[in-house]
C-alpha cells in the first residue's frame, strides 16, 4: 500500500469518563450562575478572566505538563475530554485556550528554565493570555514571506514591522512570534526565521483592532517600532524557527476544536424539530450526526496516537481538512432543514440567531490554523506525491 493510513478505534479510558462528568457539572454550575450562555455563541464577552482562573483552579490547564511548572501530568486524552466539553458548551475559553494548546508546549520545549518557571505556572492558573504572531501583511499562510525584522543589539533584539490577523493580541500578555533574523538563503527558503517570546503592553508595540464580519473583535494588527526583546526571550535556534513551528502542528490540527466550532446549530435544530420529526428532517439530522460521529472517531484516534508518542502528521492534517470543511458546511445544511421547523417551536428564534452567526463564522474556519490548500499540500506530501 502506498498510503497506509491508520485510524485505530481508540476508546477513552474510564478516568476520562469520570473527568467528563466533573467538567459537565462545573460548566452547568457556571451556566446557572450566569457566567456565560451556551445558546448564545455570538456574545461580545468571549474573554472572561474570572472563568479562566476557575478552570485553572480545577486543574484543567497545562494538564499534560510537568508538575514542577504547575502542570498536572495527566494524559493527552484527558485534556481532549476537557477541550471537547468546553467547546460543545460554548464556554468562554478565549483567554486561556491558545496558551494551553500551543504557547505552553512551545515554551516547555524551547524556553530557558527561569522563563518556564516564571510563566508556565501562571498559564496553569489561568492568569495570562497568549497570542501567536505568524501572519504578516501579504504573507498569511506563506510563512517564508515574513519580513518583520529582529535586529541584534546590545543584550537582545530590536523588532520592526507588522504582524496581522493576530487573534487576542488586544488582551494578550504575551505573544510567541516569528521574526526575520537573517535573509533566506538560495538553498533554503526556510532559513532565517527565529521564534521569540514577546512581552505585550511594552514600549514599541501598538495593537490596532480589526473588526470581523461577525461583528466581533478578535483580530488585530500589531505594529512593532524599535521594540526591545532581551536575549533570553529567544525560543530555540536562531534562524531555525521553521522546523520548530511545523513540528507541533499535529496538536493544533486534530483536536475537537477543529470540527465542533459550529456544532451548537445541530443541537438547536434537534431541539426545534421535536421528538417526532418528519422524514426529511429525520434523514437530514441522521446524516449530520453520522458525520460528526465519524469526525470525532477520527479526532479521538489521532489523540490516541499522540498519547502513544507517534507523529501522525498526515492523519492530523486530514482531520483538520475534512473537520473544518464539515464545520463550515454544517450551518448551511442546518439552514436547509430549518425551513421545515414549525413556527411554534419554542427555540425557533434562538436557532435563527445561531444560524445567522454560524453562517457568518463559517468562511474563516478553513483559513485559520493552515488553509485547506496548505493542508492538502501536506497530505499530498504524505502520499508521496511531492
Amino acid at each position: 500500500m502506498t498510503a497506509a493510513l491508520r485510524f485505530d478505534p481508540i476508546r477513552l479510558p474510564s478516568e476520562c469518563e469520570q473527568l467528563r462528568k466533573e467538567v459537565r457539572a462545573f460548566l452547568a454550575e457556571e451556566i446557572a450562575a450566569g457566567t456565560f450562555d451556551p445558546h448564545k455563541p455570538n456574545r461580545e464577552d468571549t474573554d472572561v478572566p474570572e472563568f479562566s482562573r476557575k478552570v485553572g483552579a480545577r486543574g484543567w490547564l497545562g494538564m499534560t505538563w510537568p508538575k514542577k511548572y504547575g502542570g498536572h501530568e495527566r494524559s493527552f486524552l484527558e485534556r481532549y475530554v476537557v477541550t471537547e466539553e468546553m467547546r460543545v458548551a460554548n464556554a468562554p475559553t478565549r483567554r486561556f485556550f491558545v496558551a494551553d494548546r500551543q504557547s505552553g508546549p512551545v515554551l516547555l520545549k524551547y524556553a530557558p528554565e527561569h522563563i518556564k518557571m516564571e510563566i508556565l505556572p501562571r498559564i496553569c492558573r489561568g492568569e495570562i493570555c497568549f497570542a501567536i504572531g505568524m501572519s504578516e501583511p501579504n504573507s498569511g499562510s506563506d510563512l517564508f514571506a515574513a519580513k518583520t525584522r529582529a535586529t541584534k543589539t546590545d543584550g537582545g533584539y530590536l523588532i520592526n514591522g507588522t504582524k496581522i490577523w493576530t487573534s487576542s493580541a488586544h488582551i494578550a500578555d504575551y505573544m510567541i512570534a516569528i521574526f526575520r533574523t537573517s535573509p533566506p538563503t538560495k538553498e533554503n527558503r526556510r532559513h532565517g526565521l527565529t521564534q521569540f517570546l514577546v512581552k505585550m503592553k511594552q514600549p514599541g508595540i501598538q495593537v490596532n483592532p480589526i473588526g470581523q464580519i461577525t461583528g466581533q473583535y478578535e483580530f488585530n494588527e500589531v505594529v512593532f517600532t524599535d521594540h526591545f526583546i532581551p536575549d533570553d526571550h529567544v525560543l530555540g535556534e536562531i534562524d531555525g524557527a521553521w522546523k520548530q513551528a511545523t513540528s507541533e502542528l499535529a496538536y493544533e490540527r486534530s483536536g475537537p476544536e477543529r470540527f465542533l466550532e459550529t456544532y451548537y446549530v445541530l443541537t438547536e435544530l434537534v431541539r426545534a424539530v421535536g421528538n417526532n420529526p418528519d422524514t426529511r428532517s429525520a434523514e437530514g439530522i441522521g446524516r449530520l450526526v453520522a458525520q460528526v460521529h465519524t469526525m470525532r472517531r477520527m479526532s479521538v484516534s489521532v489523540a490516541g496516537m499522540l498519547q502513544a508518542g507517534k507523529e501522525p502528521v498526515v492523519e492530523a492534517s486530514i482531520v483538520k481538512d475534512i473537520g473544518t470543511i464539515w464545520e463550515q458546511q454544517l450551518p448551511h445544511r442546518v439552514r436547509e432543514l430549518a425551513a421545515f421547523v414549525e413556527e411554534t417551536a419554542t427555540n425557533r428564534e434562538t436557532l435563527e440567531k445561531q444560524l445567522d452567526f454560524a453562517i457568518k463564522t463559517a468562511p474563516k474556519l478553513t483559513i485559520q490554523g493552515g488553509t485547506t490548500e496548505v493542508l492538502r499540500g501536506i497530505i499530498a506530501r504524505g502520499l508521496g506525491l511531492r
Binding site: 478505534p9 429525520a282 437530514g284 439530522i285 441522521g286 477520527m298 481538512d321 497530505i379
Partner: protein, 355 residues
Amino acid sequence: MAESENIVAETAEKIFADLADAQTINRDQKGEWKAPLWQALSDAGLPLSWVPENCGGSGASLAEGFSVLSAAGRFAVAVPLAETMLAGWLLAQAKITSPGGEMTVVPASPKDRITVNADGSLSGRARGVPFAKVAKHFAVLASNAKGDFAVALVDGGKCRIETGLNLGGDPSDVVTLDKVQPVTIKPAPTGFDQARLMLMGGVARSLQIAGALESMLDISVRYSNERVAFEKKISKFQAVQHNLARLAGESAAALAAATSAADAIANATSFNDEVFLEAVAAKIRCAEAAEKGGGIAHQVHGAIGFTIEHILHRYSLRALAWRDDFGSESFWAVELGKLVARRGADELWPLVASR
C-alpha cells in the same frame, strides 16, 4: 489489533494476493479464478470464521472476522465470503450448525419480511439478496404473527430465484419463499431482531467499502506517479494532488467509521443506542465516501479508468453497489434521525461522546 487477529487477517490477505489479483481476475472473463479461490478460503476455514468450532466453524472472534472483511474489501473479491460469514454468524445465534459451501442471508433489506407460517414453513420475498444464485444454503431470519424471530437454515434449491446483477456485476437476486420447509428452524435469542441482522450486514459492507477505498487511493496515487501529461507526471500538478488529498480524506473517514463500528460490535455487551450509532453512522459515512472517493479515483485515472480492461471499476463499482445492501444510507439516516429526536437535543452530545 491483537496478534491473533493479525494471523487470521494475514491468512486472508495472503490468499487474496495469491489467487484474487485484480489484474488476473479482470482478464479471466470466464470466472475460472473463482473455484480455486473459494477452495483456498474454505481450506483456511475463513467462510465459517464466525461459527463456533462445535457448530462446524473455525471459531474466530468477531474482531478477527471483521479484519478478514477489511482484507476482502481491499481486494474487492467477488465471491460470497462476507455473505457466508454473515450466514454462519446468523445460524450460530440460534445454535444451528453451518453446512459447508456458499451461503447467504435472507432478507438483505430492512423493508423485506419473511414470515413463519403456522405449519413451520416460511413465506416471503426478499430483494437484492447477494449471491443467492450461487448459494447452496440460505440463513433466513423470519418472524411469526406474534413478532417472535426465528433463524432457519434453508436449502437454496427450494426457493424461487430471479437472478439479477448489482452495479459491480455481482449476483443480486430476488428470493421468493413459498411455504418452504426449512432444514432446521430455531428461535432467535431474546432481543434479536431484523435490525440486528441488517446492522451486522451493514458493518460488513462498511468494512468492505473502506477496504475498496484504500485500494482506490493506492492505485490512484500509483497511477498519478506514472502517467505523464503536459510533459510532467500528473502527480506534480497541484490540482491532482489536492484531489488525491481529498480521496485520502474520504478513505480515512470510511476506514475510521467502519473500524470503529466493527470494534463497537465486537466488544458490545448489549445492543444499545451507542452501538446503533456506530453501526449506522459507518454505513452512512462509508456510502458517502464511496460516492465522493470513487468519483475522484475515476477523475485521476481519466478515460483509461472507465474501460473494462482497467481494474479500477472492480473497486469503484462494488463500493457503490455495497451501499444498497442491508439498508442504504438514506434509510439508516432516517432511523438515526428518529433516534436522536426521540432522545432529545440535550442527549445528542452525550450519545456522540459516549466512548
